[in-house]
Amino acid sequence: MTVRRQVHLAALFPGTEATTGWAGQRADARIAFSSFERLARVAERGLFDFLLLDEGLRLPEHQGRIHDLEPVGWPEPVAVLNALAGVTTRLGLAATVHAGSAEPYELARTIATLDHLSGGRAAWRVGAAPDDRPGENLRPAAHPDRSTRTNELVGVAGGLWSSWTPDGQPRPFAHQGRHFDIAGEFGLPRSPQGQPVVIQAGESEEARESAAASADVFLARHGSPAAARFRYAYVKQRLAAYGRAPEDLKIMPGVTVVLGDTAAEAQERAAGIRRQRITPQYALYALERLWGVDLSGHDPDGPLPGIAPRGRDGETLALVERWRALAEEKGLSSRETVIEASGRQSFVGTPETVAADLHTYVREGAADGFVLVPQLTADGLEEFVDRVVPLLQARGAFRTEYQGGTLRSHLGLPHPVGERRPHRKGNDDMTTEAPDAWKQWHERRVETVSAPYGPLALTATHWVEDYPDGRLPDIPGIWVADDEGVVLTAAGTDGLTVDDRPFTGAVHLAADRGPEATSRVALGDKRLFVLVREGVWGVRVYDPGSAARRAFRGIEATPYDSRWSVPGRYTPYDDTRTVRVGNADGRERGLALTGELAFTLAGKERTLRVAQQADGRLWAVFADATSGDSSFRFRFLYPEAPDAEGRTTVDLNRAQLPPCAFADHFICPFPPPGNTLDVAIDAGERGLS
């Protein structure tokens, strides 16, 4: 099947790029939120993949003073993008955060927050400004060698983003590397798009390698079609070394576009923009930068400086030589030479020729799309959206509506469901990919349940109110519950530890958040996990030496069969409904349900009542015709987070045993009324081996 290559489009809010002009705008045009809002709305109207905002770490200086000729002053990008998430619904939101100074925990947290609050539209552009000079405005980095910092930072951030289990349980992380030595628990579950999109840039060998290894989007410099094709093929073929497919990385050069009704008019406008930007003062500034000397007495409308540049390196000398030749050949003044030689726009022409040129780059394997850098003002983007986007659509090269809700879906990137590697490449590949993904899922499950403090290690759940004297069976210390938690009183001889230190005295304990291995109180190898259910406080004992864990031989599961994976549609209730259901411990407790999941199975439309979890995934407790017979009495299912239309996949191959299948002391809810399917689901986890 031939798939037409689709163009991806993004917009960059003008930063300090020399392509930006500013004369004649309102004074706060660069900083007022309305400017960003307008640009974002235009980009979304144009169905762009994302909007990218740059970060500033310091104001540029020239000859020891703050450079005053170019626009500077810009907001902190993440805060602006969060605000933009409130005035857009689909547009991807990308923030530059520089790798030279960012700390992984904080970086991962802010980008993940943006991703959650925007419903899966966030991206991090890994900034690598050569001129960010940490130590001037920022605390000095822990390790002076910054060349390896970026890769480590990207890796650690990815680890934090996927540190919670796919089904929404927090897990501790620890990382010890050259630059970072951190441990703890990440504060946010996986995001609606699995992981925020990572954008890398740069022309160096390291930058390309790094992008091939882990980035989702590679921001490249614009070049001729031949150069771009070469680079495209070069970077794409690197992906295989990292177990990635070529389409896992989108290559998008940053470009400028100038339109006109005729080719001549477009050229004239392009030249006009360059003239407007390169003022006499700016021309002098450009000369000073190249010559490396103070030229404040030089006449910009006179010839190029006659003196030799200070820099004797080949690059400087060659460039000066080229400018002199250009000025000589065309009889240009200093300023005219700068205008002629620098700031050339990437695509200049009528909307028809520009659309054709952009499409050609993508069709011929020179780019996957483009990041547009607006000329002069955001108005340039509006013109592009109104005049070029419809032509790209007419060519079948650009979407006519957003297909999904997340940035990953716009970019056609797989949703990373597993620990590291994406399992699902798209529907076409389901037949070969899905069984492998299922195997990995099954292996992970076995690993999780048999972990030292997994469900098999649970040997008791004590409800404190059942023991008025405060003495729990087989556990030392006095345990007394109050409104806010449990007060534990113990003597040193009791052998209890709190926060991994020997404990004497009294301590007030709130509910442990999990995972179990990190409970505050321990007794030797045993972890004593404090929990609360409906206002009743309890203590769970996890013993890695439990009989169940020692006896565990595996989970009996039926291998993947595609007929048990069907599309589903989730319809939320207006308000959460709480039903009382029996629990495995014989008590009755409330089960909060947020909606219904409808799907067709064995030729019949069926529904399950489900709860949507904090990470967007659904949770169903269900029974079927095999329950209590060839399968455990009931099972859990965690379908993926539904999209904006409520669509998700009901994959019963991933039906899993509830915790109470592994130990008697869990209090799993039984299926609520209506969740018993009258079909035999010979799929997923069935019982213990």
């Binding site: 706060d28 002053g73 409130g86 951190i182 946010l188």
Partner: protein, 359 residues
């Protein structure tokens, strides 16, 4: 009794914390509810020590969905970059068009320190000293661009008037910053700095740098003493005491009926708990308490933290606030548009401007 300065306007703020919630819509809803009550501001607490979203990000998200209410996230100063903290707070001020505040806090636990791995947990006193330095350098950086530094002068080709940009050259005990900021001076000049002044070391920072101090008091006498102490200390730092608003911070549980105030609550005043003073009773009695304390001049207002976010905020706005408005004790609409205006605080002069004026 200490001297009173007469009764100023009543100021009310509410917390919109919803532990663990990642749903932008629910925060927007609570902030809009508070805005319907014409409250001065909402707070959103934050800490690396517990799960949940970044508070400044959440309130940035809320900004375009609200029009008048002040937005005050907690931003900690221990493991963060002072330069970037001030840039983020200034940006919140820009995206909210002058409604940003910043509740300054520190990270004291070893658990938080391990998330960053740059330094060990330290005693609160040292961390608060550093927080004071961050509060100080933030204001300098906000002033490092004078108003109108962006000139866009076509004739000279200059975008900036660099004479109106300033290096701050700040050297503190744990960090140094050269400046200027990368963000132009925020709309309020200085976004509102809020400090919970209950704990000792934080009190000095509040007296010296805060525009709003929160104090946890269980009785009018305790609130009055805290307020008098802070105002006196502010005076010692050369500040006008009236440039500091002191709000009593109370947990409120309005779940127990329309009027009934439990013994030891309501009419009897709040009860001390581990989380701070707790008022439990009905919204009407809470209005009595608010009006009473304020009439006695013991507080400039209240920062109310609902125990049950949605339920209590709704009862607070539709019950307590409505009653206070009915009695003419609280505004029914926002006469101003910035948080400083709600609080009756002037836009500060720029410490670097030679003329001392602002454009």
């Amino acid at each position: 009794m200490s001297a009173r300065f007469g009764r100023g306007l009543l100021h009310l703020a509410a917390a919109v914390d919803q532990p663990g919630s990642l749903d932008a819509g629910s925060y927007v809803e609570l902030a809009r509810l508070a805005e319907r009550g014409a409250l001065d501001f909402v707070t959103l607490d934050d800490s690396f020590a517990r799960p949940g979203p970044d508070a400044l990000s959440v309130l940035s998200r809320v900004a375009p969905a609200t029009r008048r209410i002040g937005l005050v996230p907690t931003v900690t100063t221990t493991h963060t970059e002072p330069f970037q903290v001030q840039a983020a707070v200034a940006t919140l001020d820009w995206v909210s068009r002058g409604r940003a505040g910043w509740r300054i806090d520190v990270s004291t636990t070893e658990g938080e320190a391990r998330l960053f791995g740059r330094r060990h947990a330290a005693p609160a006193a040292g961390l608060w000293q550093e927080a004071g330095e961050v509060a100080d350098v933030a204001a300098r950086l906000w002033d490092s661009w004078e108003d109108g530094a962006e000139i866009r002068d076509a004739a000279s080709g200059r975008f900036l008037d660099r004479a109106r940009l300033h290096h701050v050259d700040f050297t503190g005990t744990a960090f140094s910053v050269r400046g200027p900021s990368t963000v132009p001076r925020p709309p309020q000049g200085h976004p509102v700095r809020v400090v919970d002044a209950t704990e000792g070391p934080a009190r000095t920072v509040a007296a010296r740098y805060a525009d709003v101090a929160l104090v946890r008091a269980v009785s009018p006498a305790q609130a009055a003493a805290a307020r008098d102490g802070l105002r006196a200390q502010a005076g010692e730092f050369g500040r006008k005491p009236d440039s500091l608003r002191v709000l009593a911070s109370l947990l409120v549980d309005l779940g127990d009926g329309e009027h009934a105030a439990e013994p030891g609550h309501g009419g009897g005043g709040p009860r001390p708990t581990a989380q701070g003073p707790l008022y439990r009773g009905g919204p009407v009695d809470l209005a009595e308490l608010v009006a009473g304390w304020h009439a006695d001049g013991v507080t400039d207002g209240f920062h109310l933290v609902p125990v049950e976010p949605r339920r209590d905020l709704e009862r607070l706005v539709n019950g307590t606030v409505a009653l206070l408005q009915h009695r003419g004790l609280f505004r029914t609409f926002y006469p101003g548009s910035t948080l400083r205006e709600h609080l009756g605080l002037a836009r500060p002069a720029n410490q670097y401007a030679v003329t001392g004026g602002t454009s």
